[in-house]
Amino acid sequence: MSKEITQTTYQVPIGPIHPALKEPVMFKFDIDGEKIIDVDVELGHVHRAIEWTGMRRNPIQIIYLAERICGICSFVHPLAFCRAVENACEIDVPERADYIRVVHGELERICSHLLWAGVAAHEIGFDTVLFLTWEIREKALDLTEYLTGNRVTKAILTIGGVRRDIKEEHHAKINETLAFLKEGYKKLAHAFLDDKTVMMRSQGCGILTYEDALRLCAVGPTTRASGVKKDVRVDQPYTAYSDFDIDYTTPDKLTGEVNGDVYDRIITRLLEVKQSIEIMEKAIDQMPAGDIVSEPKIPKLLNYIKKTAGEGVGRDEAPRGEVIHYVKFDGENENPYTWKVRASTYANILPWIPMLKGNQIADIPIVAASTDPCMSCTNRVAVVNNANNKKYMLSKEQLHKLSIMKTRRLMR
């Protein structure tokens, strides 16, 4: 990374934040003409000091804090935390709870990938596909609301199990939604994978090689699209995934080859939606009877945690990749001594650099969105032109327009 990138502290307002508006992130590019030579990323705009806050609260309160780390991954963060506590304090989870956790996890994965598909379509310039995918997503959100009570932050987890059961009477609605989602998947596959413009825009663009993905410790669909087989559900037994026969989703399952470009990432995510629907069906069929939580009385649970010393790690497969929580208890307080969170996007930041180098400015939105970052809103982009050393800013709307113009050019 060249150290000549000068720091900019421009006092210009926040750029447009249209769909795909997540946390603001600052990108800095070195460009020559239209090509990108070097990239730098600045984070920290959403630093809410969550880990510091969490160390002052008891584990049950931390579950609700962990839910709000990210609005879309609002199931995986509490799940990783609960598993870390269960591993640290050796609390067993009943089998039925494990299966219910699988159902909710996969439902969230479907909602998240559909959201991403809409965002990617918007970045390419197909707003109609955005509305189509988000309309399908609404049905999945209806099911979430039916099972948990809320569309986004679900509050369904507790240490040692889940809070709400999935009963026989719920099965009818679940099956109806899954049938609708299967139809929706076919429409999506047709809209994305059979469309020439999408292929032209996304093939050969934003490539991440196998070696880079391995060495930079990338996670999730970003790394699977480059051929690296990393998926916590298949690698390590966690909750009930080990009972099903799941395989890694890599693009060669559909096309037979692995290129590591944006098109491969689109394929990986769409195949995962299909896989999630199948896993949900199996989990509902094979759900064993039993308790849903190992210790229903919370004061007793907290008392037990207070007396146990230990450390534990909880790993999960979020829609974006691996999430890991580390927890340490010292045996005297019920508040954890240390709580460390690593969301999946932070492992996918370094891969942005090799992905963006050598591409055009108009490709920035689609490449950045293809990794599905939980911060896909670049609030400002500072651009340094090497040729005559001028510095200028490109806001997100200008980048978006450039991206759409390129699509229109290719469509002719």
Binding site: W52, Y99, L214, K230, T338
Partner: protein
């Protein structure tokens, strides 16, 4: 003769999957007493009660870089994150690796803890073996105040530019607590007043 022996050993190790006890033995053979403790924890999950394995090791700071090299020779690891604990007299860093990904249900989580003395918390970087460690090492520098020797990029990551220097939010000593109190704000108080 010993050089031939070690290369033969390396080739054997690279392809196969070792059970957790063998992995611990592999490190203990090389580093002997510098490995302070090694614990293997197994927990079962799901209806079929398949087990997942966590290995917890505590090693001495002097062999840290060689340990990482030895690990890369065994199999290229995935670094999930580096967690940190402020233990009073020492600051402990826990490197959470996972190995043998890519093979069905065989992955093992390897967690390695290194203690650093509080008055001189320095550790070597592992970015030359695992470039993906850059982000998490930068975060530990600003949150715990450790110094990572040889890090390619040592700027702040999450804290704002105007955050005071030498204040490390995750440390638990009195001075840090007072500094943070100055910046601390309780949002509920503002709302209750009105």
């Amino acid at each position: 003769m010993s050089a031939k022996k070690t290369t033969k050993k390396k080739e054997e190790k690279k392809g196969e999957i070792l059970p957790p006890e063998e992995i611990v033995k592999y490190f203990k053979d090389e580093f002997k007493t510098k490995i302070k403790s090694a614990e293997i924890k197994r927990r079962a999950t799901g209806a079929k009660k398949k087990e997942f394995v966590n290995i917890w090791m505590r090693i001495d700071k002097s062999i840290f870089k060689d340990f990482i090299k030895h690990l890369c020779n065994l199999t290229y690891p995935h670094l999930a994150v580096v967690s940190g604990n402020d233990l009073g007299k020492t600051i402990e860093l826990v490197y959470n690796f996972s190995i043998y990904f890519g093979k069905h249900l065989q992955e093992i989580s390897l967690n390695v803890g290194v203690e650093l003395p509080r008055n001189k918390p320095e550790i070597e970087t592992i970015c030359d073996y695992i470039p993906g460690a850059l982000i998490t090492e930068r975060e530990k520098q600003e949150m715990l105040g450790i110094k990572v020797i040889g890090i390619p990029d040592s700027r702040r990551l999450f804290l704002p530019e105007d955050f005071p220097d030498n204040v490390y939010p995750w440390r638990k000593d009195e001075k840090t607590r007072k500094e943070i109190e100055k910046l601390y704000k309780n949002l509920h108080e503002g709302v209750k007043k009105k």
